[in-house]
Each structure stands twice: as structure tokens, then as C-alpha cells.
């Protein structure tokens, strides 16, 4: 049995747990704790170690989705989680511009761990306050070649599309390595 993994990262409350839950065939193994900090009380609980979802591809291959903790104080977990990943997804909350700078930092950090393919997913695009994708690209300082995809982490089709785009990027890299 072979296993491969994709890492889902992003700032606090970007929707990483929901993203994995939407496509995982098992209940996400979440390591969540009640939030103690007043500043971070935009939700009740947060991931402190990792989230863990699974998609069985066939009898020989399993894809694991790992969600990283969003808060910087748990960043010691990031390098461990990024070990051997196929690629990674940076999830950004489109309604919270205050997290854009942090998202940029996380992206740089993960890219430094392993220069693997990645995509950026602009989550919560169904909300009224969501920033436009083009505006987010500028705010996140993403070059045109980086895929920035609209996303709703609770919508299966949307999550599938993000995963597929990452896999297409991985395939492109394999093909490019051939040239």
C-alpha cells in the first residue's frame, strides 16, 4: 500500500478543517482545543496539532490530507507535516484582509521547506464581504503563474476543483522535468 499526502495550510480560521472534512471519506481526525485567547475568539475551537483526512484511491494507493494549525505558535508542526508532501494548498479567508500578510508569510515558509507545487485557494467566496480574486492576487503579491482559485471549503465541487488544480500543477512539473 502506497500513501501520498497533500498539506492544507493557511492562517487561523481560514477554513482548513472544513476543507478537509468536505472530501475526506473518514471523519477528520482533528486535534482541536477550545480557544483561550480573546483576540482569536472568532470561533470556538482551533486546530493545535493537525487535521487528518483520507481519500482511498484504489487498493494500492491512499491520499492523506493534512491540515496544519493556523496559529504561528504551533509552527513547529509545519516542517514535520511538510516532509515528503506531494504539494500544498494555501487557504486564505477572502473576507479577512487582516490575514493576507500572514498568508503570504506561510506560503513563503512552506515553499522554503520543500519547493513543491502549490495553489492558493480564496475561501469563503460565497460571502458578501469576500474580496474579489483579482484584488486578492495583488494584496497577496502573487505572481501571475501562481494559481489563485475561488473556493468554498464546505462545497464539495469547489474543494475538488482546488485539489484537481494542484494535481494538474504537479503533472505539469513532471512533464517539465522531462524536457
Amino acid at each position: 500500500m502506497q500513501t501520498v499526502k497533500i498539506v492544507v495550510t493557511g492562517p487561523f480560521n481560514a477554513g482548513k478543517t472544513a476543507f478537509i472534512q468536505t472530501v475526506s471519506e473518514i471523519d477528520v481526525v482533528a486535534t482541536e482545543r477550545k480557544i483561550s485567547s480573546e483576540a482569536e475568539k472568532v470561533k470556538e475551537t482551533t486546530t493545535v496539532a493537525m487535521d487528518f483526512g483520507r481519500i482511498t484511491v484504489d487498493e494500492d494507493l491512499v491520499l492523506y490530507l493534512f491540515g496544519t494549525p493556523g496559529q504561528r505558535r504551533f509552527d513547529f508542526m509545519w516542517e514535520i507535516l511538510s516532509e515528503g508532501m506531494l504539494g500544498f494548498i494555501v487557504l486564505v479567508d477572502s473576507t479577512r484582509p487582516e490575514t493576507f500578510r500572514e498568508a503570504r508569510g506561510i506560503l513563503e515558509t512552506f515553499h522554503a521547506y520543500a519547493p513543491t507545487p502549490y495553489v492558493v485557494a480564496a475561501n469563503k467566496q460565497d460571502m458578501e464581504d469576500a474580496w474579489d480574486i483579482d484584488d486578492m492576487r495583488i494584496a497577496l503579491r502573487l505572481p501571475p503563474e501562481v494559481k489563485l482559485l475561488p473556493c468554498v471549503a464546505t462545497d464539495k465541487q469547489s474543494v475538488k476543483q482546488v485539489l484537481l488544480e494542484l494535481l494538474f500543477s504537479i503533472m505539469e512539473e513532471i512533464e517539465a522535468g522531462q524536457k
Binding site: 501520498v4 473576507t95 484582509p97 513563503e108 513543491t116 474580496w131 494535481l167 504537479i170 522535468g177
Partner: protein, 275 residues
């Protein structure tokens, strides 16, 4: 789609950068703690700016700029209080009181002054409305934003923010491919020109700082301004000796032939499609 937030999280310099690069048209409304600002942009250029707590009609602007006397100001207020700025401007030009250039210059100075004052706002809810029409009857300008953005970056004093924006001084800089930007039109200081002269994908920001005799804070501030103005972008430095070619296979796919790698990714793609 919304473009709204708080200046606490997304500064006025960052907003100007976004509006400039996206060539946006519309009205930016900022509700500060003591006043409200209304700023209109056309295709990424400043067209109008006003603060709610001070008179911003043409007569007031010309009086503040000392282009008209107190008695002239009073006369205009008394006789032409309902005249639009455009009509008043035409009247003054036709009557020979002021030239069109003088009026336009005063208006531009007033709008730029509003933006400069906004740099001091640490808080304020902002919202950009692309459907809002330009303010009726007002004189609209076409002021490019690059100089204002650099001016905003010069005023940035918060070390922590600069460090977050440019965490790694071992990165290099390269000029962006923006056909509409002309460096000669920018009002750069000597220090800023010195940094610009060293911009090259082979030079790290650290090396530029050493050559320009700047400390970390100073170089970060200059680079931040150039970045926000969309003139440069951060790149990994080009090494004199090229690094070994990247591994053709991915870490997670290591040890597999290209056909096996393709097969594995294709199986993943088929499975995800089938969910």
C-alpha cells in the same frame, strides 16, 4: 464583490497600491475615528479627494492656497454659493482672475494633501464602490499614485510591520514589467535613487543596504515603498555559480520512473473527479 476592511489591517498605502495596480475606478469611502474621507479614482489615478470635516469646494481650496483674497472668497460665497466647482473655475478663468493651470494645480495640491493626511490614520473602515459615480460638478484630476505610495512608505515607522512585509533581506529585487511606469516621473530621494541604482536580481537586499550604507529599518522602508508602488518585485537572488539542476522527480515521487509518476498522479486525478 466587496473591497472593504479596516486600515488597521490593510493600510492606506496598500490600498493605493491595489487601486493603482488594478487600475480601479470608483469611490473609496473611509470612516475614520474623527472624520470621513471620500476619494474618487479613475483607472487607478486620483481624481478627487475630500475630508468631511473641512470645506472642500473650489472657493475654499483657492482661498487656502492663497490664490484668492479673503474679500474675493467672501464675494464668491455670497454670489456663487450654488455654482459648481467646474462652473466657478470657468468663470474665474474667463474673467481673467486665474489661469486654468493655477486652478488645476491648487485642486491637485488639495487632493494630494488629503491623501497625505490619511497616512496618519491608523484606524478606519474603508469600502471601495466601483459603481459610485464621480462627485457631480467637481474638478477631476488624473494624479498617478506611485509618488503618493512612496510618500506613504516613507512615513511608515513601525519596525514590526516592515519586518512582516519584508521578512527576508537575502531576497533580491527586480524591476516589474509595467509599461506605463516611468522612473523619471517619480520624486525619489537621493537614498531611494541609490537603492534603485543597485537593483539587480544578483544583488540581495542586504548587499544593497551595505552598498547604500543603510541600516535594516532604512532599507526595508525604501524597498517597501518601491514594492507598494509596483515598481519592483522580490525574487530569489541569481547566483554567480548556477545551482545544480533541480531534481526531475518530486520528493514524494522519488525513486519512480516518469511513467510511474504520471500514472500515480493520473490515478489521483481520476479518484478526485469521482468523489
Amino acid at each position: 464583490m466587496a473591497l472593504k476592511g479596516n486600515l488597521r489591517d490593510f493600510s492606506i498605502t496598500q490600498l493605493l497600491n491595489l487601486i493603482n495596480l488594478a487600475r480601479k475606478t470608483g469611490m473609496l469611502r473611509i470612516r475614520g475615528t474623527e472624520a470621513e474621507a471620500l476619494i474618487y479614482f479613475r483607472e487607478g489615478r486620483l481624481a478627487f479627494a475630500a475630508l468631511s470635516h473641512e470645506p472642500n469646494d473650489l472657493a475654499s481650496v483657492l482661498y487656502r492656497e492663497k490664490k484668492i483674497s479673503a474679500s474675493q472668497y467672501k464675494a464668491i460665497r455670497a454670489r456663487a454659493s450654488k455654482t459648481t466647482d467646474k462652473s466657478l473655475g470657468l468663470l474665474l478663468v474667463n474673467a481673467g482672475y486665474l489661469s486654468q493651470e493655477e486652478i488645476l494645480q491648487s485642486v491637485q495640491t488639495a487632493y494630494v494633501d488629503v491623501i497625505k493626511r490619511l497616512f496618519a490614520w491608523a484606524e478606519g473602515l474603508f469600502e471601495f464602490d466601483t459603481k459610485s459615480p464621480p462627485p457631480p460638478g467637481r474638478i477631476l484630476t488624473r494624479i498617478s499614485l506611485e509618488n503618493l505610495i512612496i510618500e506613504g512608505a516613507r512615513r511608515l515607522r513601525e519596525w514590526e510591520q516592515l519586518q512582516n512585509e519584508i521578512p527576508n533581506l537575502n531576497m533580491a529585487l527586480k524591476f516589474t514589467d509595467r509599461p506605463n511606469t516611468n522612473l523619471r516621473n517619480l520624486n525619489l530621494s537621493i537614498e531611494e535613487w541609490r537603492v534603485v541604482s543597485f537593483i539587480n536580481p544578483k544583488n540581495t537586499i542586504n548587499q544593497i543596504a551595505r552598498a547604500a550604507k543603510m541600516n535594516d529599518l532604512e532599507i526595508r522602508r525604501v524597498v517597501y515603498g518601491l514594492l507598494q508602488a509596483g515598481l519592483v518585485e522580490l525574487v530569489r537572488p541569481e547566483l554567480e555559480t548556477p545551482p545544480p539542476p533541480p531534481k526531475p522527480i518530486h520528493t514524494a515521487l522519488e525513486g519512480k520512473s516518469v511513467d510511474e509518476q504520471r500514472s500515480l498522479v493520473n490515478r489521483l486525478i481520476s479518484r478526485i473527479r469521482g468523489i
